[in-house]
């Protein structure tokens, strides 16, 4: 067990987090920066009491980890915040029930279906294929928020279950975004694997549990993790490929902690090495596409930058494939897109303002295409590019590499 009180005390209150925190950058509130949040958490712990205001304040952290990068003491702020959320019951009833539904294959299918009908009623299509705009304000979605068109038959509905074929037994874990929303991602990965004479197994699957874990809905995260381990049994595959970097981060780094105290914790620890970010895996095998000099703006997800094994492989992979990767100034290059799971829903305006800075910087460089490797980031980037009026393709990196 982590001694959170000791971890909190490691903060020397130097305030360096104020330099980089994307939320503080906009609000200029000490309460929105790691140092201020830790002061709050310490006090809540001392009084053994979290009230609504504390839960709201904790929800204003993106858990992007930028502060840890500049922290001399390496205080694990995102983990501290996450754990405080869990102890405080930070997730709202709606959030944890959505997170719970994501973690169960059958419930997730039903949820997607309902969402499709609901959104069709609620939204109008945008002129191109980018997706839908909501017509009405909902408590959670501000009017005008772009949402992707939910496909009639998602990738998972079309393909799963499928067995592996080829020299190696690889399996594909899509994650909610690629599995149910952005159904071109799975097809793109299949096309890339075909060039290696491989067919990935696609077992019935649901959510890895990261959204639940991030918001502190530990029970739902445990159920999702257990379901995931039923779908991907250790030893069954030579490699489990993740379409989404954030899922990969969760599976590689958090799963044993999610299942702490559970008999499956060992299993989770064993399988971590077997889970690969798709692009890290591709690069290790020296696979290359031919991107013939395209100018590409890359948004590397925070999870990829911090938590995924070889998580930054996407960038050299694109360069080695002949693309020109646009370099942004450091601070923007490393910036979060502002989505942050439930953060983007609860604090839609802040989230958008944070992402806006990065997207505007990307658009100024006139890229041919903007790519990322997390479907949550993809959702955010599409919304922002769509709203900016720019006609720039925004896609998952696999879709670009598949050609």
């Amino acid at each position: 067990m982590t001694d959170w009180a000791a971890e909190l005390r490691r903060c020397v209150r130097c305030g360096a987090c104020r330099e980089v925190c994307p939320v503080f950058d906009l609000t200029r509130l000490e309460t929105d920066v790691a140092r201020g949040r830790l002061a709050r958490i310490e006090q809540c712990d001392q009084m053994d009491r979290f009230v609504t205001a504390d839960r709201d304040a904790l929800s204003r952290c993106l858990q992007c980890g930028r502060c840890v990068e500049v922290c001399q003491s390496n205080v694990r702020v995102p983990d501290i915040v996450r754990d405080a959320k869990a102890r405080s019951g930070g997730a709202t009833a709606i959030e944890s029930s959505v997170a719970g539904a994501l973690g169960d294959p059958a419930r997730l299918r039903r949820l997607t279906k309902r969402a499709r009908v609901f959104l069709a009623w609620l939204a109008r299509a945008t002129p191109d294929d980018a997706g839908l705009r909501l017509r009405f304000a909902l408590p959670y979605f501000k009017a005008g928020r772009y949402v992707p068109r939910i496909p009639r038959r998602s990738y998972l509905a079309r393909v799963a279950p499928r067995a592996a074929a080829g020299q190696e037994r690889v399996a594909l874990f899509l994650g909610c975004g690629a599995g149910h929303l952005f159904d071109g991602v799975g097809d793109a990965i299949d096309a890339i694997l075909t060039t290696m004479q491989l067919v990935a197994a696609v077992p019935e699957q649901a959510c890895c549990g990261l959204p639940a874990w991030g918001m502190g809905a530990d029970r739902e995260a445990r159920i999702a993790a257990a379901n995931w381990l039923e779908a991907f049994v250790p030893g069954d595959y030579d490699a489990i490929l993740c379409a989404c970097a954030s899922c990969a981060a969760h599976l590689q780094r958090n799963l044993p902690e999610v299942l702490a105290g559970d008999r499956r914790a060992d299993q989770a620890a064993r399988i971590a090495d077997n889970v690969h970010d798709f692009f890290a895996w591709l690069r290790k095998r020296n696979w290359r596409a031919d991107l013939g000099g395209q100018r590409i703006a890359v948004h590397l997800p925070c999870h990829a930058r911090h938590d995924v094994r070889d998580g930054e492989a996407l960038i050299p992979l694109l360069i080695e494939s002949g693309a020109t990767v646009i370099e942004l100034p450091d601070a923007l290059d490393q910036a979060c897109c502002g989505m942050g799971g439930a953060f983007g829903v609860r604090h839609a305006e802040l989230s958008r303002a944070i992402g806006e800075k990065k997207v505007q910087a990307m658009l100024r460089e006139r890229p041919d295409v903007i790519v990322t490797s997390c479907t949550g980031c993809l959702l955010q980037l599409r919304d922002l590019v769509e709203r900016s009026g720019a006609r720039v393709r925004v896609c998952h990196a696999a879709e670009l590499l598949a050609g």
Partner: protein, 455 residues
Amino acid sequence: MRRFVRELRAVVGPDGVLDEPGALVAFAADSKVRGMAPVAVALPTTTVQVQDIVRLCGRERTPIIPRGAGTGTVGGAVPECPALVLDLSRMNRILRIDENELLADAQPGVVTGEFQAAVEKVGLFYPPDPASAATSTLGGNAATGAGGLRAVKYGVTADWIASLEVVVADGQTIRTGTRTRKGVVGYDLTRLFIGSEGTLGVITELTLRLIPKPKAKATLLALFDELSQAGAATVAVLRSNITPAAMELMDQTALAAVQDHIGDLLPPNVCVLLIEVDGDADEVAKQANGIRELLQGVNAREVRVANNAQETQRLWSARRAISPALYEMRAQKFSEDVTVPISRIVDLIVGATKIAQQHKLVHASYGHAGDGNMHVNFLYDADNPDETRRADTAREELFRLTLSLGGTISGEHGVGVAKRPFIAWEQGPALLDLQRRLKRAFDPLNIFNPGKIFP
């Protein structure tokens, strides 16, 4: 109190006031001193709002604690009584950069590092460079009279402030100083407000002096076996005809703390002088050579010129990382910015080492050797009462030693709360009394950061 908060909201808007208990704890401390949570926090964006707040607090007799980035080390921005914290983080606009007059106007919440970057973009240079510059603010630097790394050649924050706009006790604004190079009309109130730690008024705008940015710089690294040798070398450089832009000393303990940054750049068990020279390219080369020759003549084990920008960056970031990194060795430290006349640096270094040995404490000495301002750190574990007591005693002995060498107990951090008990060791009763009367003249209601500096 409810009404007070309501009136504050009427001044700065609903999202410019914090009064939720969990939010207020974030304002109960600076980077070193813990006090109590304020009753509310206001985040003004304009001078007019600050004026309204000062009037409101005057009427209510509610103390005002101005706060920048909260990177102070002596508790200057920390409430000790029920008070309003005036957080100036949202007054963060650079108002203009006047390239002809070499002046810039900025609000107090502008982050110093961002200001430096902004003026450098147009080829100008703002030399004051506190180690916390990436986070700390211009207003905070002015209110504490912050020093920094480049003081050897360029002086401290105070030397670069031409004029201040200050909101004073009755809510009026005053403008101190001039926009001219010279100006002797009336008292020099600019200097008085600098380093006054928020006890006389609230700085709401600063006019800062700039110079053209030096075209080139070079970093030299001199290795010594003994700390006192490095101290002696410092004096030798200062007596030469070359003035380095910065001259920082780091002892063995300080270097060990930042081993991650340094990696294999240095052999073990050395102390280091890190020297920066700047100017035109040929001038820089000449200075660097001159210093190298000089140091080789005074027992330096080795003198190197940093090879490339990356190595330079690594060395300086290591220097800046020392202060927080020392906490990895012990949970607590006394970090004292004692300053002595430059000819007494060696006495200070030797004396501090002796004090640490006497009290069996881990200690680190580093800092701005070039201006006589060392950071002497005694590390201790607060859970160990005996060690804490020994550190307390060592700290007092260090102050006595500094004063006996003709120095001052604070070169750049200020007095705040942490050094308040010792101010009378340095300044006589008549001087203290006069300063207290000054405070009363400026602040008859005693609402500006009451109780700070003077016991």
